[in-house]
Symmetry: C2
Subunit: 454 residues, 2 copies
């Protein structure tokens, strides 16, 4: 019998990790709800026809495909198999795949349910996604995304509210040193046009997107290879190198590229923050922000936490035609943000930001010394539970030491020891595990104390 | 462009369903926590070597297999493909599968983490599972299970607490007319022995398990086919037909089969309910309860709600050797219960038990009539949010009628209309959507009212 293992790039989450992850989920969820977003869920498996072609060629290769059930070779001529390759066989034996993100399934949901949905539709979705990426530190094959999107309006208040939500979430999580980077695809398109590279925006976005990772020299080489001339590349890096406040950058762009819609949008979004009584703290207009995905058309966002070597923890943007991938008549503008819980977890862990009491554990373990006291312990536990206090009875007849060890390891808050004295007097021996203090009290008193603290 | 569809047997959940499902999850979760269970999660994909052979031959066929990523035919001799069948090719091209239940992944988790776990380990797990079953009403290919298991003790207090948890969950959900059926594999084994059919327990359990669905005649036929003689089958049905209280059934079995360990266990579990200050209400000792899964060795449970045509909504039992499937040295006794959320949902829906306010929706929509009032509306929404009140600003400049329709469809509780008068006086026009009543009040007053109600 071989020892069981986990598939590469996947993880189990134990009780402590679960509690910490739930703390992050709950923080994000509560802010999403505060802004009027409603939850939906979509299935793990989607038809491959829904997923394929939506994430670029590289994305297609990272889709996990699910083998058709039953006799999946039934309709395939066996002799043709001798010459077939994986790429051609796959579509014949697998028609479903695991979702790669939450945005494409959301677009599919909107197209399929458009008659029941109230637009503008503000939905959030917190579910795992799967990518057949090479696993490495901080990169998993199964990981959770937390997305919020508004679809059916092109109002820039949505962009402003997304920034406000990011700030609210980080404030609640206790993350203080971070930037919300903001840019606009229209500004990048304007740059491309100034570089006489209209039509090559895609290559430009992809190259700029790598700037953080591979540096200027390599990006220059890539652009040259893709047919951009030196003058154009110089113009690009001159623009990207501009240092200044958000306002100064906007003014500079205004001078160089006239008042493009991208510049106008970014200015409006920043102004809206003030209309909401907030400000531009943490918000950095960054002309070099490009984002990898092709479907963005307007504002784009990315969040970086400073002081930790962890990539962006959140990103998103506006897409004008996402639903059109499923139905050409459906052109609803939308804008969304996605939070990467795994990276936020790593940030919180590195900065020691998890509150002490995040572990779901019991308030009380009732310990007993013989059968009679075990029955008494059961009544005590039942009464505690009736008062909403989580309680356990040690299940076996065991030495007190073993019972206390169990409570200690499980970080139980109080231990109640029940012996003959306790049963006679009704005065329970109560030990607070963290402080080690021990006192006698009636059950009522214990209930009052714990209820006051909870 | 084809219209997108969902894979057979899978579903989307919209905001209303999500809220109702979350109500069920949260009820179950809070009771699990009240009894000291801690959450874990395992990945959707497991190695097929972990899953295969654990659910019987039929179960193996229902596993969803995930195609190896990359060139999955790379190591396969092409010429051999001409003669291969699906069954032989599958293990060569798919080494991972989607989890079929939460019990086997839990056993795998325990074996892999035994040095970090505090035993007895009480874990709960709420995650989807996948089965390539033929979809039909109430049967899906992706559905959630909510499991609680204790591993590392054979104490019958666990069985008693499982029954108490079931009763607590149903009480909180408002389901009043139901039975927790209780039986013991030892009693069924005793029956098999009395039928001179030791060694054929498996066939017996499977046949009895179908009694509800296919009736006595068909079960008799199946048992005859499997080599049971008529006298034995008569003895079986005579025993199963016995009517009486839990106590009377136990006494009857005592007479016929002497005091078997199974009978002793069931009696002890029922007595323990009284030790906890509870009683046998809703608890039915049912000798005809068998359960399909092979790994049960002790008490088994199943919950049926009366008055609705929906199968069992919960089931479980004790298994003495579950971890031994991964490591023969690991013989930890465990016992668990699984709740089927989809069926509980259908029961709650049929019995109209969902509370009215389960939908996550906003407390307030702030409506505006022009740009100036939209900025005022943003400040109002921001202030409400700062007080923990969920609020939206209608994102577009639109007619008031359209804004009110949005609030109405989304079941928003209050609408605040902001025009010139309101901005001048600070007296907001507040409409409660449900009653239609409209009054003027300051923002402070609105905050006070909603906070009092929340």
């Amino acid at each position: 019998m071989e020892k069981p293992t986990l598939p590469k790039g996947t993880r189990d989450f134990g009780p402590l990790q679960m509690a910490r992850r739930e703390y992050i989920f709950q923080t994000i969820r509560s802010v999403f709800q505060l802004y009027g977003f409603q939850p939906i869920e979509t299935p793990a498996m989607e038809n491959l026809s829904t997923l394929t072609g939506k994430y670029g060629e590289e994305g297609d290769q990272l889709l996990f495909k699910v083998l058709n059930s039953g006799d999946f070779l039934k309709d395939i001529e066996r002799i043709s198999l001798a010459s077939i390759d994986s790429k051609n066989l796959a579509p014949q034996v697998a028609e479903k795949g695991l979702r790669y993100d939450l945005t494409v399934p959301f677009a599919r949901y909107v197209v399929m349910n458009r008659h029941e949905i109230t637009f503008p539709f503000k939905r959030y979705q917190i579910q795992p996604v799967w990518r057949a990426d090479r696993p490495q530190k901080g990169r998993y094959r199964e990981f959770y995304q937390c997305d919020a999107d508004v679809i059916g309006t092109d109002s820039l208040t949505c962009e402003a509210e997304i920034i406000l939500m990011i700030k609210a979430i980080f404030r609640r999580l206790g993350i203080t040193d971070y930037s919300v980077k903001l840019n606009h695809r229209g500004i990048l398109a304007g740059l491309a046009s100034a570089m006489h590279a209209s039509g090559k925006e895609g290559s430009l976005f992809v190259a700029i997107d790598k700037l953080d990772k591979i540096g200027e020299v390599a990006v220059r080489a890539e652009l040259t290879e893709r047919g951009f001339d030196t003058k154009a590349i110089d113009l690009l890096f001159q623009t990207l190198a501009f240092k200044g406040s958000n306002q100064e950058k906007l003014d500079m762009l205004n001078k160089s590229f006239a008042d493009s819609p991208g510049v106008k949008d970014v200015r409006a979004v920043l102004q809206l923050l003030h209309s909401y009584g907030d400000n531009e703290e943490h918000v950095e207009f960054d002309i070099s922000l490009a984002r990898g995905l092709t479907y963005y058309t307007g504002c784009i966002f990315e969040v970086k936490v400073h002081g930790v070597a962890i990539g962006s923890v959140s990103g998103g943007g506006r897409y004008d035609n996402l639903t059109a991938i499923f139905d050409a008549r459906e052109k609803s503008s939308g804008v969304g943000i996605s939070f990467g819980v795994d990276r936020i977890y790593d940030v919180m862990d590195a900065l020691n930001l998890f509150p002490e009491k995040t572990q779901a554990t019991s308030d009380v373990l009732t310990c007993h010394l013989d059968e009679a006291s075990s029955h008494y312990a059961m009544r005590v536990a039942a009464t505690l539970r009736n008062h909403g206090i989580s309680a356990e009875v040690y299940p076996d007849q065991a030495k007190l030491k073993k019972q206390l060890e169990y409570a200690d390891k499980k970080k139980t808050r109080f231990v109640v020891v029940i012996g003959e004295d306790e049963m006679r007097s009704g005065q329970l021996t109560v030990k607070e595990m963290k402080t080690g203090t021990q006192e006698k009290m009636k059950l009522d008193e214990l209930i009052r104390r714990i209820s006051d603290q909870n």
